[in-house]
Structure formats: structure tokens, C-alpha cells
């Protein structure tokens, strides 16, 4: 081969891997561009044929349908599709938030129970995990909603009559606290009490490090969080009135209503996700080598100290990434609300709004954007936390 000016032997252009790579990529992009053009042309034609408008203007149109649970102001007559969007999103966030908290609590309990020295407890936890993980979530939701909650009695035969709350197939009704003047001070006292407790914790920690002495924390915390607001309550003379749910002929008036749809979705999501979280917790705790426990024990640390100072700091590094994955799954699974009629974001927006306006593309794009945003935010938070707690390597 004759060397060319750059000093490398000249090969046939077609055999040069760099050239081929470029050709492949150009072909790929061309293919995608062609497909995209065809799709766009078809979309325009089909939309025109079905007389569906385009654009996001529909968000300002009046919705005209009712929503059974709204955390913000919403009126059937005047609220727009845009408002319906926010109502749905808030409902989703409510279920997701509560679901994550409760599932974490339950999941940790079961995960720790899986490692208990008690054979019965260990195997019951194992049974729970195996059964729940192998039955589809949709089936579980339908079961809770249709077989359990629908089986509650009619209004006239509500449970707990006379106790201040009512349970029937329309939901759970609890007394609603209506705050009179002065209640603001009580709330302020409560917030101050909580803040002071955290402050006390920091002070106790510093004192421990400097002098090795332990400061009692439990009693002062109780005094601050409960005692302080109570004292302020009596001093200020605030009034709190409870509005009890009243049994009417066809419905219940007054009180706070918890929809059976909400309860079923929350219940189902928590029970399902807790089974997966339990496995994550168990794997994390098992990942701490036995030698760590032995070394800590050999140094004279007691079981609680070993747990707090040695096991949990190491286990949490293994637990947090897959735990975040489970949180993401819970957020995505909340979309199954459609099956039981809970007015979450998908049910309102991708369901009703899409059906009424027919503007599939815009609605789907917005839906995808919302979920992608939620996923990205959660993943970014996890990555940041992971980087912060990583062990420095050699």
C-alpha cells in the first residue's frame, strides 16, 4: 500500500471503521427522519379527518365535569381543564406522598421481621412478601375496592354510629375540627415545640461528644411537643369545635370524608410496595458483613449502639438506591387509580379530559411530561444523596 501524506496506509474507504460508523449513523438518522415525517403527515391528515383541533388552547376551556375529591377550589360550572389538571396532579401527589411514607414504615417493619430470631415471625413475614409480590397489583386493588370496601353497609346501617365517626360504603367520615380564634397561637406553640425538640437533640449530641455525658431527651421532648401547646391552649382560651358527621336520609353531612376509592388505592399501594421495600431492607441489612457486628460487639458496644453506629450507616448505603426505585414504582403505580375511580391525574386528565376534547397528542404529551419530571426529580435527588455518602476510595 502506498502511504498517503498522513503516513497511514490507505485502505478502501468502505472498510474504514470510522467511515462505516458515520454512514450507519447517517442512515439511522435518515430513517428516523423519514418515519417521523410520514407519521406527522398521517397525524395531520387523521386529525383533520376527525375534525379534532390542535394546540393547547383547550386548557382554558370549561371542563364541565365533577371531581369527587378536590384539594383545591374546583367548580363544575366554571373551572377549566387547566384547573382539572392541577386537581388531578394534587390528588396524585397526595396519594404518592402518603403512600411512600406508610409503605416505608410497613416495609421496614416487615423487612426487619424477616430477620427476626423468632421463627414464626420470620416465616409469617416471608409468607406475606411471597404472596403479595406474586399477585398483580391491579388484582389486589380490585379486591380491596370491590370485595372489601364495597361490602361495607349502606348509610342507614353505618358502623360506629354514636361514636362521632361513621363508616359505610360511601366512605369514612371523621369529625372535622373547626378552629376558633386563638388557635393560631396553639399551632405556633406546637411548631415551636417541635423545633425546640430538634434543637435539644443537637445540643445533646454536642454535649455527648464533648463530655461523654448523656442528656435526657424523651421527657423534655414530650413536654415541649404536647405540654407547651396544651398550656398555651388554656392560657389563651382558644376554642376548637368538632363538627360531627350527621346521618342524613341519603347522605352524610358535615365532617371530613375519606373516599373508599382513596382508601382502597392507598391500602393496596402501601401493602404491595411494602412487600418490595421489605426485601430491599432485608438485603441491605444482610449486606453488612457479620464481622462488623462482631467487631462492634467485641468493643463492648451494646446492641442498640451497634445498630445505630455501625449497621444502619452501612446498610443505608445499600438500601437507598433500590428504595428510591420502589418510590418511583409507587408513583407510577398510582396511575392504576383509573381502575377504581379515584380521581388521580391519569384518571382526570388522560381519561376524562382526553375523552371529552379528543386531543390525544397534547394530553398524552402533558401526561408523559409530568411523569418524566417526577421521575427525573426523584432520580436526581437520589444521585445527589448517593454521591454525598459514598465511601472515599483509594
Amino acid at each position: 500500500m502506498q502511504p498517503n501524506r498522513s503516513g497511514r496506509p490507505r485502505t478502501a474507504l468502505f472498510d474504514d471503521p470510522t467511515f462505516r460508523g458515520i454512514v450507519y449513523q447517517v442512515l439511522l438518522c435518515l430513517l428516523i427522519a423519514l418515519a417521523a415525517t410520514a407519521v406527522v403527515r398521517n397525524v395531520i391528515a387523521n386529525l383533520a379527518r376527525n375534525r379534532i383541533t390542535s394546540g393547547f388552547g383547550f386548557l382554558d376551556q370549561t371542563a364541565g365535569f365533577d371531581i369527587s375529591q378536590t384539594l383545591i377550589e374546583y367548580s363544575v360550572q366554571t373551572s377549566t381543564y387547566g384547573r382539572a389538571f392541577w386537581v388531578g396532579l394534587l390528588n396524585t401527589l397526595l396519594i404518592a406522598g402518603l403512600g411512600i411514607v406508610l409503605a416505608t414504615l410497613l416495609g421496614f417493619v416487615i423487612g426487619i421481621a424477616r430477620l427476626s430470631s423468632n421463627w414464626l415471625l420470620r416465616n409469617i413475614a416471608r409468607g406475606y412478601v411471597e404472596v403479595i409480590r406474586n399477585i398483580p397489583l391491579l388484582l389486589q386493588l380490585l379486591f380491596w375496592y370491590n370485595a372489601v370496601l364495597k361490602a361495607l353497609p349502606e348509610i342507614r346501617e353505618s358502623f360506629f354510629q354514636g361514636s362521632g365517626m361513621l363508616l359505610n360504603n360511601r366512605g369514612l367520615f371523621l369529625p372535622q375540627p373547626v378552629v376558633g380564634p386563638g388557635a393560631g397561637w396553639v399551632l405556633l406553640a406546637f411548631v415551636l415545640g417541635v423545633a425546640a425538640t430538634f434543637g435539644l437533640r443537637l445540643v445533646a449530641q454536642r454535649r455527648r461528644e464533648l463530655t461523654g455525658q448523656i442528656t435526657p431527651q424523651l421527657l423534655p421532648a414530650l413536654a415541649l411537643i404536647i405540654g407547651l401547646p396544651v398550656v398555651v391552649f388554656f392560657v389563651v382560651g382558644a376554642e376548637v369545635e368538632l363538627v360531627y358527621p350527621q346521618l342524613g336520609r341519603f347522605n352524610v353531612s358535615g365532617g371530613v370524608e375519606i373516599l373508599p376509592e382513596f382508601a382502597a388505592l392507598l391500602f393496596g399501594l402501601v401493602i404491595y410496595t411494602a412487600a418490595f421495600i421489605a426485601e430491599v431492607v432485608r438485603a441491605g441489612l444482610l449486606s453488612v458483613p457479620k464481622g462488623q457486628l462482631e467487631a462492634a460487639g467485641a468493643l463492648g458496644l451494646r446492641r442498640r449502639e451497634v445498630l445505630n453506629l455501625v449497621v444502619i450507616p452501612q446498610a443505608k448505603r445499600v438500601i437507598i438506591p433500590p428504595l428510591t426505585n420502589q418510590y418511583l414504582n409507587l408513583i407510577k403505580n398510582s396511575s392504576l387509580a383509573v381502575a377504581i375511580g379515584y380521581p388521580d391525574f391519569v384518571q382526570i386528565f388522560t381519561g376524562t379530559v382526553l375523552n371529552q376534547t379528543g386531543q390525544a397528542i397534547e394530553v398524552v404529551v402533558i401526561t408523559l411530561a409530568v411523569y418524566l419530571a417526577l421521575s427525573l426529580i426523584t432520580s436526581a435527588a437520589m444521585n445527589w444523596y448517593n454521591a454525598r455518602i459514598a465511601y472515599p476510595g483509594r
Binding site: 461528644e209 458483613p289 468493643l299 453506629l309 452501612q314
Partner: protein
């Protein structure tokens, strides 16, 4: 409250008590017998080296002494304190025994200094500044004071094991136990750890060492204990042990191990 670090404990020597006393110890793992008829009395300031083929129960034995393993029959007494299932007793005993493991078992999420100050702060309730002062002193003793703010993952194996020794010493134990401390180390790092242990011995620390390092044993041990299949077969001075082993199993073992040394 604060103990004198290291040194011969004059107190119990005058009382005539032993640092560690084991009488008629038997241990089963399920139906499998792991230790039988273990009798051993270790005096303060004495260095005892335990050797034997793998599976002979040497590690299990010393782990019974600080309650890392449980046993079914017999008694263990440490510095006059009998070892029972009572958690307070176990804590008391563990405060007086320092242990160094084959796998180092340093806490990866804490710096070298924090590894050493953890127990003094939380178990001996020392103020942090005192604990750090003592920790730096021992890190200096094991010749790695400059590593105090590094994490275990950043150190070599030999350095990690020396940190483990310093960590145990920070609790001012009366007895130090070593469970095959050099078995996981690259050959060139074995010497630095053994040198540290020899210095410790020369300062008069009571030591129980499970090891295959016969050179070290010859140099430092007051007595050699040979175990096989869960039983102690022979106890003797190093001189007698190596030159004239009495039990035929001891002879077989020594011929193997010294042939390949």
C-alpha cells in the same frame, strides 16, 4: 474510671486470680461437637499461642471467651468475672478484652480516628477530646499517625490491621486476643503487623493469639497450645513444644508446618 493502658495488671496477680480461666468447656453446633473438655488457665502478662489444623476449633475457643460464640457446658471466667448470659456481665468482660480479627473488620463509614474513638466515647463515656488524644497516641504506637483522617478503604491491608490493633488498645483492655491476624495479609505486610504484636508483648500485655506464624510464636509465647478436632492435645513451653512435641498428632502437625516454612 480511666485505666492505665497496657502493662502488667498487678492487682489480679496479687489476688492469685487468672486473666482467663476455662474449665470443662464443651460446645456443640446443633449435633456436631465443636469443642470438648477445654481446660486452660491464662495468667496476667502471659502470652499464649494457640495453633492447630484448620477446623480444630481454635477461633471458636477464643470467641467463646468474649461471648461472640455461645457454649453449652463448662465455665469461662475473665478477670474474676464469670461469663454468663447476663448482658451486663458480657459488657463488663468485653470492656476488658480487646480483639483483633482476621478480616480486620474496620468500620468503613468512619475515619481511622473515628474507628478508634467510637468505643471509648460510647462505652467508656469519655469526652471526645480525651478519646481523640488517646487514639492518636495509639495510632502513633502502631506507627501510622498520619492516617488518622483517612478512611479504611484508602489503607493497605497491613495498615488496616494495625489500625484494628490500635482500635482495640484504645479501650485499655487487660487482655488482647488475636484471631489469625496475619492470615489475610500479603506476605510483605505480615512483618509490620507481627512487629507491632511483638512490641505489645514486650510491654507486658496478656495475649491470646491464634496463628500459624511459628517464628512469632517462638519469639513471644510463654506457652504453646495445640488443638485438634475441638480438643486441646498439648500445652507446653515453646522450647519444649518445638523441639520435643509429646503427642503424636502434634508431631505430625509440626512436621507438616515446619517443612513448608
Amino acid at each position: 474510671m480511666n485505666q492505665q493502658p497496657g502493662g502488667v495488671s498487678e492487682g489480679s496477680a496479687q489476688r492469685g486470680g487468672f486473666a482467663v480461666e476455662i474449665n470443662g468447656l464443651y460446645k456443640w453446633f446443633g449435633t456436631f461437637q465443636v469443642l470438648s473438655d477445654i481446660n486452660l488457665k491464662v495468667r496476667n502478662g502471659e502470652r499464649v499461642v494457640i495453633c492447630g489444623p484448620s477446623g480444630s476449633g481454635k477461633s471458636t475457643l477464643i470467641r467463646c471467651i468474649n461471648a461472640l460464640e455461645d457454649y453449652q457446658r463448662g465455665e469461662v471466667v475473665v478477670e474474676g468475672v464469670p461469663l454468663t448470659h447476663n448482658l451486663k456481665r458480657i459488657d463488663e468482660i468485653r470492656r476488658e478484652i480487646g480483639m483483633v480479627f482476621q478480616q480486620f473488620n474496620l468500620f468503613p463509614h468512619l475515619t481511622v480516628l473515628e474507628n478508634c474513638t467510637l468505643a471509648p466515647i460510647y462505652v467508656r463515656k469519655m469526652p471526645k477530646s480525651d478519646a481523640e488524644r488517646i487514639a492518636r497516641k495509639y495510632l502513633d504506637r502502631v506507627r501510622i499517625p498520619e492516617q488518622a483522617d483517612k478512611y479504611p478503604g484508602q489503607l493497605s491491608g497491613g495498615q488496616q490491621q494495625r489500625v484494628a490493633i490500635a482500635r482495640a488498645l484504645c479501650m485499655s483492655p487487660k487482655i488482647m486476643m488475636f484471631d489469625e491476624p496475619t492470615s489475610s495479609l500479603d506476605p510483605e505486610m505480615v512483618k509490620e503487623v507481627l512487629d507491632t504484636m511483638v512490641e505489645l508483648a514486650q510491654e507486658g500485655m496478656t495475649m491470646l493469639v491464634v496463628t500459624h506464624e511459628m517464628g512469632f510464636a517462638r519469639q513471644v509465647a510463654n506457652r504453646m497450645v495445640f488443638m485438634d478436632a475441638g480438643q486441646i492435645l498439648e500445652i507446653n513451653t515453646p522450647a519444649a513444644f518445638f523441639s520435643n512435641p509429646q503427642h503424636e498428632r502434634t508431631r505430625a502437625f509440626l512436621s507438616q508446618i515446619l517443612k513448608n516454612a
